[in-house]
Symmetry: D2
Subunit: 337 residues, 4 copies
């Protein structure tokens, strides 16, 4: 049994992680940390987990005493605590953005602060197993991807791998409100969010530099990407509609074959027809559909931002790190409705 700690366990990602891990047969959550909820039980903070996770929040991350730590802290916080965890031999999966970049300058330009732990930044492996499975097996530090980045990269990867991208890419992303986190804001106020589709994060959402960083690692210089996220009146779920420019003519059939072939060994990526978001809800699945619309190829990518776009993917990464079957603890299917 792998013993794990969850730091920053009071948010939506932390809660979903605890929910998933409570059923994992080979990973046991032994400690949970959250400064602002110290001494409260998990059930008090996450009533849905009452009796399923019987732990009290601790406040001092110095007391982590496990094989593995999931860090679900906000941006700019993880980088202050991850180093100490690694030094004590704890393997780390960071669900925040601090270790997703290879270039500290890009990090600074994106998050507006110098990186406080550049030595480990270089070591971190980007936690998208479908692209980096081999490197992840021996990683000490995993940078779990952002939700939009996961949906976009899984959709673009077959095109990049076969070097088909030759011009601009438009990514029109639609996300539910849970992606914004548990703190109330004007944008996520129900009366403002429930009856609209609202483009936001313009001109440059923080996930775009993340996407470009990863693409640059796995292929040629990436093309121009126009990335526009929209808040839609859903709680969970992201649908990205992706409009790439390709070098050669494709058909719906050739695209389907390409995607099916690339993801043959990846149990969580499902290639098929136009997806519905509930199929992904609560799961680690990403549904991809690549098709020809008139003369142009279009790729749809659907996942649960708290699932494959967050907590479930962190569990998948833990499975890879510790040599378990990737599917362990993540077998559940999503909803029909």
């Amino acid at each position: 049994m792998v013993r794990a700690a969850v730091l920053g366990a009071s948010g939506y990602l932390g809660g979903e992680l605890l929910r998933l891990l409570s059923l994992h047969p080979k990973i046991e959550v032994a400690q949970v940390f959250c400064r602002s909820h110290a001494e409260r039980t998990v059930g008090e903070v996450h009533p849905n987990l009452e009796r399923s996770v019987e732990l009290k929040f601790e406040s001092d991350p110095q007391r982590v005493d496990t094989d593995l730590a999931f860090v679900a802290e906000p941006a700019l916080s993880s980088m202050k605590i991850v180093g100490a965890l690694l030094d004590r031999g704890v393997r780390v999966i960071d669900l925040g953005p601090d270790y997703r970049f290879t270039d500290a300058n890009v990090f600074r330009a994106t998050y507006g602060a110098d990186h406080a732990d550049q030595s480990h930044l270089a070591e971190a492996v980007y936690g998208l197993p479908e692209l980096f499975r081999e490197r992840l097996r021996s990683a000490r530090l995993v940078a779990n991807p952002g939700c939009y980045a996961t949906a976009t990269l899984l959709a673009l990867w077959p095109l990049v791998r076969h070097d088909l991208l030759t011009g601009p890419v438009v990514v029109d992303a639609k996300s539910g409100s849970s992606g914004a986190g548990a703190a109330p804001t004007a944008a996520s106020h129900h009366p403002e969010a429930a009856l609209s589709v609202v483009p936001y994060g313009l001109p440059v959402h923080r996930h775009l530099p993340e996407i470009r960083t990863v693409l640059a690692q796995v292929g040629p210089e990436p093309p121009t990407i126009t990335f526009v996220p929209h808040l839609v009146p859903l709680v969970r779920g992201i649908l990205c509609s992706i409009y790439p420019t390709l070098s050669s003519s494709t058909t719906s059939t050739s695209l389907a074959e390409l995607y099916t072939s690339v993801y043959r060994g990846s149990p969580f990526v499902r290639v098929g027809g136009v997806p519905k978001l509930p199929w992904a809800t609560g799961t680690n699945r990403c549904y991809l559909s690549a098709t020809q619309v008139g003369d142009a190829p279009v790729v749809f990518s659907a996942l649960d931002n708290l699932g494959k776009g967050g907590a479930a993917q962190a569990v998948q990464n833990a499975n890879v790190l510790f040599g378990f079957d990737e599917r362990t603890g993540l077998e559940i299917s999503g909803f029909g409705v």
Copy 2:
């Protein structure tokens, strides 16, 4: 042309009021006030009103210089400014709760503060024209009713008027999120509100003492009322499902006749079958349906909390105050969908 000022015009009620008044043929909004938005235009604060209301916010209510003032300030604020307005000869329609009580002790028990303007409290007329039309004609100060109170009182009034209530009444109310106002809170955070029906305001919501105060004015000692509001995933709209105990046996037919008869002269109260909330959206209408369910009578009451439950009713009250046809500026029908 009646010249009007709107104080506290930056919230949802204030915005809806400006929207309605912008089409009123006999009332002209000449001044808008809001301390926190002073010098900004209405269009900057309410983009839906750009070009329709071309005014700048002023900050000092001492400068009100109109025939009529609508006060859409939060609880405990109106009572500090209404007196001065009245002293200067301005008639006032207060959309907040400060003047809805006849007994300062009930006000204190409900809102947790002493009333700062008890002399005018005694003078205020409760702005439900269907019950107090005559007294309103000559009122200087109108206490515009709360949204739940409007829906409940209009539903109970025919039973009270005919002295049919003999035992406990259950009011199970369902409201959209705009009733909570424009300030983000944990309860109105989209991820928390969008997938649930949440009872709140327990054990005693503030509209219950308001309802009891009014019933005591128009009938015998009111019965026990159990009032439970629920937040539902809508933005606008309240549906109250009301379960009264009656003295004598009723039928669906006798109930329909009773309600139709009582509201014959009230153009905004519509008696009929089970209502749908969009019919009331953006309007001053309240839809009532009184029917027999098994052995028991049930009354459904539907309105727009920002409409008949707030801003539109304030316009209706203004029409009554100034002797206009009640329907002036309020003719629009609600939506089919």
Copy 3:
């Protein structure tokens, strides 16, 4: 390993059942039946189950060849096929209403047709383990309860068991749209359902006679119950707000103690504060909150109509029938959001 068949597996309840059973460690779905989808795979009909349930639909229920059959057929259909299953030694859990009544006359009055299998009607055990656990252990035929009936009966049972109910009960129920099934109707058309709260099923919803039938089995003559279901703009979830009349004075504390005590041995009934529906989504849990609102007791009951209100409860019943721990395959927690 218990071998199971699912009949009527193409609807929402059938799909949810397959989803849950795909993870059950002691029950294996060996056959699925649906006349209208014969020869299609489960994945074609329920894309969320692709690769999780690798079976083809069969059309002829005569070919059921398993230890257990879940029957998720519409009303009036089950009673034509259950007898033959029982005769061949198959234990049956019927998710429809056909066997929920003890009196064939009540069935006829409620469903408008004579019961076609009265001999087995008498034998069926009502599948609410919290009330009938002992009788269920040896049952051949289980009548899985309706969604509203489950929510209402679990809320009323502590009051009935302690003989506290002395007068009328109001049940104001709010349900998501999946309860209406997979066939499009005017009431469930998105433009009609998404912006309203709509009372329906009046004057007498079919679950009320079911509730009364069960109450009469476990306590004294039940009181008058006014049951009004409302369609709310959710997909999954039922919240019942229940207003009982009690014989003696209660407090929030005494009510909480009573409910906690009655459900001590029932792992799926959770007693606590005001519940949120996502906590129950996808699970077999029912959240109860009993509290005093002013002078009156109010009980809130929340569950997933496809979970504890349907498919998950059927799995719980199967666990009871075959002597497994009730929680087997039903351990997952619901969502925080």
Copy 4:
């Protein structure tokens, strides 16, 4: 007073048209037609219009006896009745697609049937006043545009007029469910639509040939347009996110100036920041925001599909036809929330 008839008045577009016309000071609805509701009152079919529109449905369009007819019939129906109306001197605004094409072959390819009234097809003027105001003044027959086409054409027009489009255009459209009409379908079944964002109408939605037809009339050969509509969980409203390829470099400032300038004389087109859909709800407004996202221009276009995308635009066209101020009867502002 212009006397008008509405044919096909029982659907969502017809209902919205009656709602708007009930307040029009210069157009009076004198007749309503609907074969399937003959002899019923408007209030029975559209309860929101009870007392506002006091007419009975007639069944025989031969009895139209007005100056103007709005035809809100389904595709392929209008073309069978419009000719006779014109012959009797009735001016016609057709809200369906039958007269939106200049080329009968494109009509056949798009709607799968030969055009039954080609002589009038040639005469029809496309009812987008912002582009065709002059030609509309004297039109006998107006083809009121489709909802997506209106949103897209108003967004592209400034770029076409200044000949800036040089390469492919992506139109990612998000629509509420009322656009699909009043008849229940699997796609609009609430449980299927409420928790997802669903691309549909692929590979070629019928509004794309309409858009291309109009662009070809007002500019050079239009570029490749990839048009992907998505159903979002809203009832009213369309947001199009449009990604054009332009000939020269633009900035957010230059784009804003361009759009502001082109629409200076068009009171219903509002150019500004990122729009919210409620601002347009129930109105004839289209909100445009043209901005630079990274290196690429993006245009957002928001309207109410039943408003500027349908019934309100039909009223605007009527105003143009009869020489009224375009704004007559369409002054109302949309919602803040």
